[in-house]
Amino acid sequence: MSASPPNVPGLRSFEALYRRLVWLYPAGFRRTHGTEAIEFFRDRYRTAFRQRGWPGALAAALRGYRDLIVSALLARWDERPFRRSGFPGRSNRELVGAIARDSVYAVRTLWRAPGFAVIAVATLALGIGANTAIFSVVNGVLLRPLPYPEPDRLVNVWQINHEWLDSPDPRFRNLGAKFPVSAAVTWDWVERAAALESVGAYNTNRPAMDFGDRVEQMWTAEVTSGVFDALAVPPHLGRVLVADDDRVGAELTAVLSYGFWQRQFGGDSAVIGQTVTLDGDAFAIVGVMPEGFYFPDPSAQVWTTLDDEAKQRPRDWQFLQAVGRMRPGLSVETAQLEMEAMNAQLTEDTAGDHKFGVRLIPRTTEVVGNVQRALLVLIGAVGLVLLIACANIANLLLVRATARRRELAVRAALGASRGRVMGQLLTESLVIGLLGGLVGLGLAVATFKPLLAFLPSSLPRTDEIFLDQRVLLFSLAASLATGLLVGVLPALSVSRTGITDVLREGGRGFTASGGRRSAHSLLVSSEIALAFALLVGSGLLVKSFVRLTSIERGFDATNVAMAFVTLRGERYGDEQTRTTFLTSFEERLAALPGALSVGFADNMPFGGGTSSTTMTVETLSGPQEINLQYSAVSADFFDALGIPLLAGRRFSGADRAGAPPVVVISEGAAREMWPDGDPVGKRMRRGSLDGEGEWKTIVGVVADTRHRRLDIEPRPKFYEPVHQVRRTAYIAVVKTQGDPNAVGSEARSILNELDPAIPVPRIATLEQQIANTVAMPRFRTLLITMLAALAGLLAVVGIYGVMAYATAQRTSEIGVRIALGARASDVVGDVLKRGAVLAGIGLAVGAAIAFAAVRVLDNLLYQTNTHDPAMFVGAGIVLGVAALVASYVPARRATRVDPVEALRTE
């Protein structure tokens, strides 16, 4: 043999495990082929790693393990006793017969011990059911391909704003790395991007739709025809948008979703050619998409063309997103390179007018990328719980195997080989696993609907979660794996027992051998270790969640109702009409019983939108540019939200249209621009240094507010009086004394009285709006905590079981000790000591596991250190105390042993 080839990463560990597993083979097989099989494994791994990196190597290793386990079991069957006892050869029929006999025998054995059977099946059913449920979510969200043909070819196309990438502010850097696109650049891409078979731009929108009898806001998407080309889903009816629809001057056209078509048009195919009216414009309906089609998410009901103005907007008008379909056979990396070359040429041809980079991101990654980590953590956690449940059942089976040693020994003496007896025990545990799986699957099916309702609204693709074939297969595989897992240790323990020893022991007590006792200890310690890791993880998530939700928001969300109002049509273009409307709406709302204060804003914290703009401000060192968020608010808005005034004054009724323009700025803005001075009285205007905007005077400073998410620091911001700017959409906020939900219907009817043409407003409470933004963290925290509690409980039950069994075994010994004058406390102390040792080992191993594993939580945590020592100590104390209590109960019972009775059993 030549010098061995260089090592590849991971090989050593994977090979080590393989070498261990080789011992599963029957001795003859192992001696003849073991070395070659290991070499075989090593070579496969190396090749796979070189060709396809980690994923390939991992797959190769798993294939190797699977092959080894399966072939080892089959090889044992090949060499089972039939052939030695005179049956030449082995037919499949014999094999099936043996399995069938074992299964029947297993069911009968279980039937005779219904208590054990129920506990085992129920425990595994819970574990497998929970795994099936979580897997169905993972399957629907992560594993199922997006519902477009060849979804791997779909990419989101972004621009890169290099200027922003260099910004010291991380918010700008993030936005700069995924910068929206303009209509102009989309047309260039359609023409030039050879890497993309098709590409289109889109924007979601919430226009008011006129239904004749009412006006309602609904989600739509404005799209260019390239979007439909890229998605490549044929319409159910009519046609999708085509290149001609992109032409300036083309008729406005719309494509309907299947659901919307069913609801509004009763599924009538004469819908083609009719129109839908959105924000006052009529769009001709040209097609209906098939059921199940969605884009960009299931909320969009109608896809329309861009209007002529939007189609012609220049390069610096960047508000669209883009999606493209790569040429067949292209990798994202290659497509990215081609796009960069194309983009460089574009910059050159436009003489630098186009100055942005281009970036492709696989669409699947962007749709589910955010939740991937959280879901994988969940399936990991629920898998751990199943493992702990397995350990518990394995423990029970070990006890049973010990109690049945005589029966098994007799069978062996009558000619059953060790393999045959092992096979029988394994069949038994497989039957338990399958029964558990069956019940578990039933549980998963029964709780499927509630589970879906429990999922956070921010989880993408929840409509695609089904109990499909893959989920069923997963469930089956989990059941089989569970069955094998719980059966292996007991089966091995039996195979090591000498027949004659057992028979010679006769009817005397079956004390567990040293080996078996260490098997129990191993199982219990592992349970505690796994439960410990889960508890630490859940503790971290809870701490992070509490931090997140108790963070200073800068406003008070208690009892605040929100109504989202859109003013349409020409009449509200007039300042006077708008002011009159807002004033009377405000008065009517303020007159509602229970209303404490009423405010208006065009955008507000957790109201769903943000605006930011470049401002020029007068600082101590002269005029400076700064990017600020802004918001137009009414005088009482700060009151309604409880945003504290820190300096100067709020707006007043005098700050109306035509009055001198004024602004209020946030504390953060004040700190950034006038770190040492008083900003009140200073001035700012829209636009860059060379701009000509109107100067506005700063009259006050208010506290910073978190705006979009609780975990994002407040940005510097300024407020304008709502009557001094023109807006078409407002959020009315009402601070109430009691339940804010009561205001909703009142607000609706007031609006209807004021102007029936105004779309029915969406009503929410500020608390709800905030809760929606933390739905995902709440979901995962809650679920992991439940799983951790379950794991802890199982582990404690496990340790109780082992201690109870161990003390029961030692009844006579304890009886003798008590008869010789030992004190109860000595006996208790003895048992507790053993419990403490088991728990201690488990905790130590668990701490090590947790220490390594909590890293996966890293970007799921908010202001919480993954290695927070308090969590480790806390989880240790909780589990340690629980373990001691679980040991104390059987210990106490042991001291009540009557020495005479105990000695008699000897």
Binding site: M1, Y25, F29, H33, F40, G64, S71
Partner: protein, 124 residues
Amino acid sequence: MSRPETASESVQGALPLKPADYFILFVLRDGERHGYWMAKEIERLTEGQVRLEAGNLYRSLRRMMKSGWVRQADRRPAVESDDERRRYYGVTELGQRIVRAEVERMRAVVAMAEARSPSSPEGR
């Protein structure tokens, strides 16, 4: 109970062959080889369609040795390409007859399918 089987019976009784068995016998036609070489050769011949893992391969070899289709080689190849840890296998007379019979069988199956196919396009 059992009676001696005749040679032709034992050949026919072995058919159809499992794909893995067939490929192993097939790649052994040109001489004696070791296990890993067979796996790689089969993978190459089938362009990755058939991939045998170690356990499956050695189990098949053991089974075919017991049935007398394959034997372990006592000769070893030239020193420079040899690896003393490896065992080499060759196909027996019986094994060769079985592969030939399997090829015949598959040929008949294909012929049957091809004889039927022309009538089908307008059939329904």
